[in-house]
């Protein structure tokens, strides 16, 4: 185990040195209790205490809009080139729920046929985690899915020990970086302090829904026709907020644009949402998920049932974003609680 120490007043120096090597992004306060990952140049810009950002850091791995293909049809035969726009980025301050989200996406896009746009970008991202010593707010359900404790998926991982951070170094690249910056190795006292933080978390973070998570897939299997979905569907706006802010949602749309020369253009990928009306419609007019209740149920099954069958893990990371962002007050915790009550 390789731990280093960074004093809090050295964080600014750390960020500045890092930003000489690559673009650094971190959570920044946006007002009214909202935060967003944005480029920073100094530690003072960073919100070290933050609730999950509006959009998760998936936006750096799979941007909201990205170009996949350039084409040119001016000749007798069309010409095209698959492209990716990727830059070296350090993402600082990623909570464990969002690290879990990135781990989910890694699985999806590494599965064949692979998505090289995602994978290329992933190669260029340096991930720096930041531990939540306590709950961000009451909407989180990270203990239910065990994403409140770090389990890999980062280069460096910071835990706040009061006047200093203890940093877990997880990759060779990260080791070279901290060695280059001359960060001191952690002492026994430091690792003991880290253990105290974890001990506190074991009592502070409790399964938020009160159901054995191993039983959830079975409960979902039974709950296909539950009236919970009718209730949620009745309230749903179909605005797509819940999926757009989800760290593990990855559905997308592809569309062409042509330039005004009418000869060159590109194929572009945009985030899409299974919650919007036309998502599952086909050209003939049939819509395979016409009802809001069907669409909401689909969202929950993709988090707690389908993903378990396919990738052996929940695709809910417990970040609570879907609940926070829902204008109609649809709560993930409440929905699960009702479903559990009905189907145990």
């Amino acid at each position: 185990m390789n731990y280093h120490i960074l004093k809090k007043d050295e964080l600014d120096g750390f960020i500045k040195k890092l930003s000489k090597k690559m673009k650094v992004v971190a959570p920044v306060a946006k007002g009214t209790g909202n935060f967003a990952f944005q480029e920073v140049k100094a530690a003072s810009e960073i919100a070290l205490q933050y609730i999950p950002t509006i959009l998760p850091p998936k936006k750096y791995f799979m941007p909201q809009r990205e170009k996949m293909l350039d084409f040119d049809v001016s000749g007798a035969k069309p010409v095209d080139k698959a492209v990716v726009e990727a830059e070296e980025i350090a993402v600082f301050g990623v909570h464990t729920c969002d690290l879990a989200g990135i781990q989910c996406l890694n699985m999806v896009f590494s599965e064949r046929p692979r998505d090289y746009n995602y994978l290329r970008r992933k190669d260029k991202i340096f991930l720096i985690g930041l531990e939540c010593n306590d709950y961000c707010d009451e909407n989180a359900s990270c203990a239910l899915v065990s994403s409140h404790i770090p389990s890999g998926g980062y280069d460096l991982f910071f835990t706040d020990l009061g006047d200093r951070f203890i940093i877990h170094v997880n990759t060779q690249k990260a080791e070279e970086l901290v060695e280059g910056m001359g960060l001191a190795r952690a002492s026994h006292a430091d690792t003991a302090a880290l253990e105290k933080v974890r001990e506190h978390k074991r009592s502070a973070f409790k399964n938020e829904v009160g159901v054995d998570p191993r039983k959830l897939p079975e409960i979902f299997a039974k709950g296909v026709k539950s009236k919970v979905w009718e209730d949620v569907g009745r309230r749903c706006v179909s605005c797509g907020n819940c999926t757009n802010v989800c760290p593990s949602c990855y559905c997308f749309d592809m569309a062409d644009t042509i330039n005004l020369d009418m000869k060159t253009g590109s194929r572009n990928r945009t985030w899409d949402s299974c919650q919007v009306e036309t998502f599952a419609a086909v050209a003939g007019g049939e819509n395979f998920r016409e009802e809001r209740s069907d669409r909401q149920r689909h969202r929950f099954y993709r988090k707690f049932k389908y993903s378990v069958d396919k990738f052996y893990r929940f695709f809910c990371t417990g970040c609570g974003r879907c609940t926070r962002t829902c204008m109609a007050d649809i709560s993930l915790k409440e929905t699960l609680t009702s479903l559990v009550k009905e189907n145990v």
Binding site: M68, F71, A82, V224, F288
Partner: protein, 278 residues
């Protein structure tokens, strides 16, 4: 910081249209040759067709892999992209990705009797299998083809269908929902043809392709004939946008979480009977 990705799965193969024909008012047929070799598909698969600057659509391959050198598509004008495809002609290029999807279970069907049930444009994907079976006729038992369309004018592959009708090693029945003065055949829904076919259920595979509304009724008739659920093969329609089991559009509401583009589009009825909609 734009880099080229040489091995991207989004790269398009160039397909040249070498023949095209308007089949009905709504359907046009294309014969497409890839500049970099064979498509190398199996019956029941589909391709993504890109019209540069307009977009991409999933289209079933309607030719058998036994036909080499080019592949065929039948396109119904049903939206922005397919409408634009109808304007294409010989010499035009399209972008092609694929083939995608799980083919019909041809190997499992070898040695068995086959009952093909095609409704409307469903004949297009089914034709890739019918022609494959015709070209390997001795590998299969009794073959029956049931065909239904709205009116005689909506019939696709008319001359080819006429040849199937003449074959002695194929039982052929056809019906239209609404007749016209020149039509001398059956009138009525395709389900009315099923009771008349002699079937040995345990050794028969029924392959059914048609609009979603057709499945429920046809399957009910087939089950009445005691054809086992795992011997009823369907090809489902969804909007397969990426073809790679990722974009999410084609996912079927079913406990098994099927992506129609990867786990389908062909399924046996026992695989998908729990789906909310077929």
């Amino acid at each position: 910081m734009t880099e080229e990705i040489k091995n991207s799965n989004w790269k398009l193969r160039k397909g040249k249209i070498i023949a095209a024909k308007q089949m009905t008012a709504a359907e046009k047929w294309f014969d497409i040759q890839l500049e970099d070799g064979e498509l190398d598909h199996e019956p029941g698969q589909f391709v993504q067709v890109e019209l540069y600057g307009i977009g991409e659509a999933p289209i079933s391959i309607c030719s058998s892999p036994t036909k080499r050198g080019s592949f065929e598509l039948t396109v119904r004008a049903a939206g922005r992209l397919t409408d634009a495809m109808h304007k294409l002609d010989v010499g035009d290029y399209v972008g092609i990705r694929g083939p995608f999807g799980k083919p019909f279970p041809v190997k499992v069907m070898v040695g068995n009797d086959l009952l093909f049930v095609a409704g409307g444009l469903g004949l297009a994907p089914l034709r890739s299998l019918i022609n494959y079976v015709m070209d390997n006729r001795k590998d299969f038992g009794k073959v029956d083809i049931l065909l239904g369309c709205r009116t005689p004018k909506d019939m696709i592959f008319g001359s080819e269908v006429a040849k199937w009708q003449e074959r002695l090693d194929v039982g052929f029945h056809c019906t239209v929902d609404r007749t016209d003065p020149d039509w001398k055949g059956n009138v009525g829904l395709i389900t009315t043809l099923i009771p008349g076919v002699t079937i040995q259920p345990e050794r028969t595979f029924a392959v059914v392709v048609g609009p979603p509304i057709m499945y429920k009724f046809v399957i009910a008739e087939l089950l009445k004939k005691n054809i086992p659920e795992r011997h009823i093969v369907l090809s489902l329609e969804r909007h397969m946008k990426c073809g790679m089991g990722k974009c999410g559009h084609c996912q079927i509401d079913h406990p098994k979480n099927y992506y129609c583009c990867k786990d389908g589009p062909t399924f046996t009825y026992d695989e998908v009977k729990e789906a909310k909609k077929l």
